[in-house]
């Protein structure tokens, strides 16, 4: 038991070092901005004043939210119906969802441009197409998140129960299925947004100035500013994900007053049914 505990701390420490060391180095690098031993926020103030920041960031956020929306609208009903009506097709869907992992970015770009050339310019000539590509790129992860969510509930029984009580499909989705698939859907949303905000290769090949593309262009002029921007972007992404988490977690909090909220949360924590990240991190 004691060795187990020690091992856990060592593992956690190593992992932390692995993740934190480069970040710490970056922060130091950006704060020193070339002058050893003297810290200043100069690089950060320069970064925020850099032309093109707002525009590229806005493009990236729009693309990310677009990709998220398309993913959820396409994938959630598909996975539910496949599990419900065509369980044999699960294997096929599973294999298809993995394809983007095996296809290089350049090939995807060529494929997309070749296939969609006939579509109007609004679609192929603007970052709109990036949203669609990111939906595909994120599919290996989003499909799995949603699928495991769907399979963790007793889908057939819940649907049968709802229908026997008079609920149509719209009602079933809004009141029964979506609330119970919340964690899977949220995970898929996170993954799409995070992937979209960080993707460089395809956006660059296609010539769209998303935030990562813009960042690389800045890097050539002033590496300190570029690193300062990266750290700011990291913070920004993190804030966006936290905001998403809050937006998606309003499930049980509206039933009763403040006191009721506390009781429900306490029960959830005790039974470990809703994993609370904070509780896990401390053990």
């Amino acid at each position: 038991m004691k060795t187990g505990r020690t091992f856990r701390w060592v593992a956690l420490g190593l992992l932390g070092l692995f993740v934190i060391a480069p970040m710490a180095a970056s922060i130091q690098f950006s704060l020193e901005a070339g002058y050893k031993g003297r810290l200043s926020l100069t690089a950060y103030s320069q970064a925020l004043a850099e032309p093109g920041l707002g525009g590229s960031l806005l493009t990236s956020v729009k693309v990310a939210l677009g990709a998220m929306g398309i993913t959820l609208v396409l994938l959630v009903p598909t996975v539910i119906f496949v599990n419900l009506r065509f369980p044999r097709w699960r294997a096929v869907l599973d294999a298809i969802s993995l394809l983007p992992l095996g296809v290089p970015a350049v090939v995807i770009v060529l494929g997309v441009l070749g296939s969609y050339r006939s579509l109007p310019n609004f679609f192929t000539g603007t970052p709109v197409i990036l949203a669609f590509i990111y939906v595909i790129l994120a599919m290996p992860y989003t499909y799995r998140a949603i699928d495991s969510g769907v399979r963790s509930i007793d889908l057939h029984t819940l649907v049968d129960a709802g229908r026997s009580m008079g609920a149509g499909w719209m009602k079933l989705f809004s009141r029964v299925l979506l609330p119970n698939l919340r964690s899977g859907i949220l995970a898929a949303a996170f993954l799409t947004v995070a992937l979209s905000l960080g993707e460089f290769a395809i956006a660059s090949i296609m010539g769209f100035t998303t935030f990562p593309v813009w960042l690389v262009s800045v890097e050539g002029n002033n590496p300190y500013v570029a690193v300062a921007l990266s750290i700011t972007a990291l913070l920004f992404t993190w804030i966006l994900l936290v905001a998403l988490a809050f937006a998606g977690s309003g499930r049980r909090r509206r039933t009763t007053g403040a006191f009721g909220v506390e009781i429900v949360d306490e029960i959830e924590e005790k039974e470990g049914l809703v994993p609370l990240p904070s509780a896990e991190a401390t053990t």
């Binding site: 509930i153 007793d154 029984t157 819940l158 049968d160 129960a161 709802g162 229908r163 026997s164 009580m165 008079g166 609920a167 149509g168 009602k171 009141r175 029964v176 609330p179 119970n180 499930r251 049980r252 039933t255 009763t256 009721g260 429900v264 029960i267 039974e271 049914l273």
Partner: protein, 377 residues
């Protein structure tokens, strides 16, 4: 038409139960399945299945797994389509009506409560779908929770309820929107024995109180016999026998029913005269319904219930006690005949103590022959 037939559940007191049970009609609607067929690949889940359930009656469909009982229930619910045949409720043909327009209540095997809703929200879901105002909905759901004895659990979520409590909530939920028909799909099979027996009685009490026509599907014969007005024994997609529990138990129409319902001993015998069989040295009358057409001299298997067999210790007895299981008031004793045939008897616990395992016993048939079937060589 339906609203007056389904009485308010809280209106009648439980004391009326006995009276209601004996009334020829209890309100509710008549349900008919006519010549239903449903095939899954090569399996005939329903093979010309027909049944009529009287208003307010509780019919239990009983059978081994794969006999089609669940398919029949799901066809009534509209969750399974039929290849042929029709479903009539209260005289209306609802064969092609989608499930959410059928106005029925259904209780499933387990875990059918919506995990994101508490008990009272679950119970009120049917009314929520029908756009009933929140206050009225909560009031009605509260009444139903009271009916199943869970008023104090209204704010609990499914994962905070025991299995038995969850099924009570599911029952309340099924009844909340005053359905025309109640469907119970093995609602007790996931519960432990004690809770199962309690909830079984509870379901019957509530069903009588509400006066709703009910179809109950189970593979547990004790459950079926104890709860139902009539029991339908199913086998490979058709109804083998439909009758009141006592009739199905003591006058089975087929060999299958005789062996599936209750416990039997299968003893070798021979027809010695028309309608008469010799078995274990006794000469017994074959009931008319149980194969009296067999000709004299036919070698047969005679099926006998444990309560028709008595055993008494005897030094020259033909059988040896092989096993005994204590069941409270009675002991189930299994003795082996010289040719290896096992005889099962239930004896009062006080008597059974007089012969431990290995005792030689004389076996006597004291009651009726249940069924006689020609012996397969």
């Amino acid at each position: 038409m339906t609203s007056e037939q389904v009485s308010a559940p809280t209106a009648s007191a439980p004391t009326e139960k006995a009276q209601q049970a004996s009334l020829p009609s209890r309100g509710g609607v008549v349900v008919e399945l006519v010549n239903c067929r449903r095939t899954f690949g090569k399996v005939h889940a329903l093979d010309g299945f027909s049944i009529t359930i009287a208003p307010g009656e509780l019919v239990a469909l009983l059978g081994p797994s794969g006999c089609g009982k669940t398919t029949a229930l799901r066809a009534v619910a509209g969750l399974e389509h039929l290849d042929e045949g029709k479903v009539m409720v209260g005289g209306d043909d609802i064969t092609n009506v989608p499930p959410h327009h059928r106005n029925l209540g259904m209780v499933f095997q387990a875990y059918s409560l919506f995990p994101n809703m508490n008990a009272v929200e679950n119970v009120g879901f049917g009314l929520e779908v029908r756009r009933v105002a929140t206050a009225r909905r909560r009031q009605r759901a509260g009444e139903l929770l009271e009916l199943v004895g869970l008023s104090s659990m209204a704010e609990r979520y499914p994962h905070e309820l025991s299995g038995g409590q969850q099924q009570r909530v599911a029952l309340a939920r099924a009844l909340c929107a005053e359905p025309r028909l109640l469907l119970l799909d093995e609602p007790l099979s996931a519960l432990d024995a004690k809770v199962r027996a309690q909830l079984r009685d509870e379901i019957r009490r509530i069903q009588l109180e509400v006066g709703i026509t009910t179809l109950f599907v189970t593979h547990d014969q004790e459950e079926a016999l104890s709860i139902a007005d009539r029991v339908g024994v199913m086998r490979s997609g058709h109804l083998e026998q439909l009758g009141v529990p006592a009739e199905v138990y003591s006058s089975p129409k087929t060999n299958f029913v005789a062996e599936f319902v209750g416990s039997v001993s299968r003893l070798p015998g021979e027809v010695v005269a028309p309608g008469s069989v010799a078995v274990l040295g006794s000469r017994l009358t074959i009931p008319v319904s149980a194969g009296s057409a067999l000709s004299t001299g036919t070698r047969v298997d005679v099926l006998v219930r444990p309560e028709s067999i008595t055993m008494r210790p005897a030094a020259d007895g033909a059988a040896v006690v092989a096993r005994a299981s204590f069941l409270g008031a009675v002991v189930r004793v299994v003795a082996t005949l010289p040719d290896g045939v096992e005889v099962v008897s239930t004896l009062p616990a006080s008597e059974a103590y007089t012969f431990p395992l290995g005792t030689r016993v004389a076996v006597e048939l004291s009651g009726d022959v249940l069924f006689v079937v020609e012996r397969q060589p």
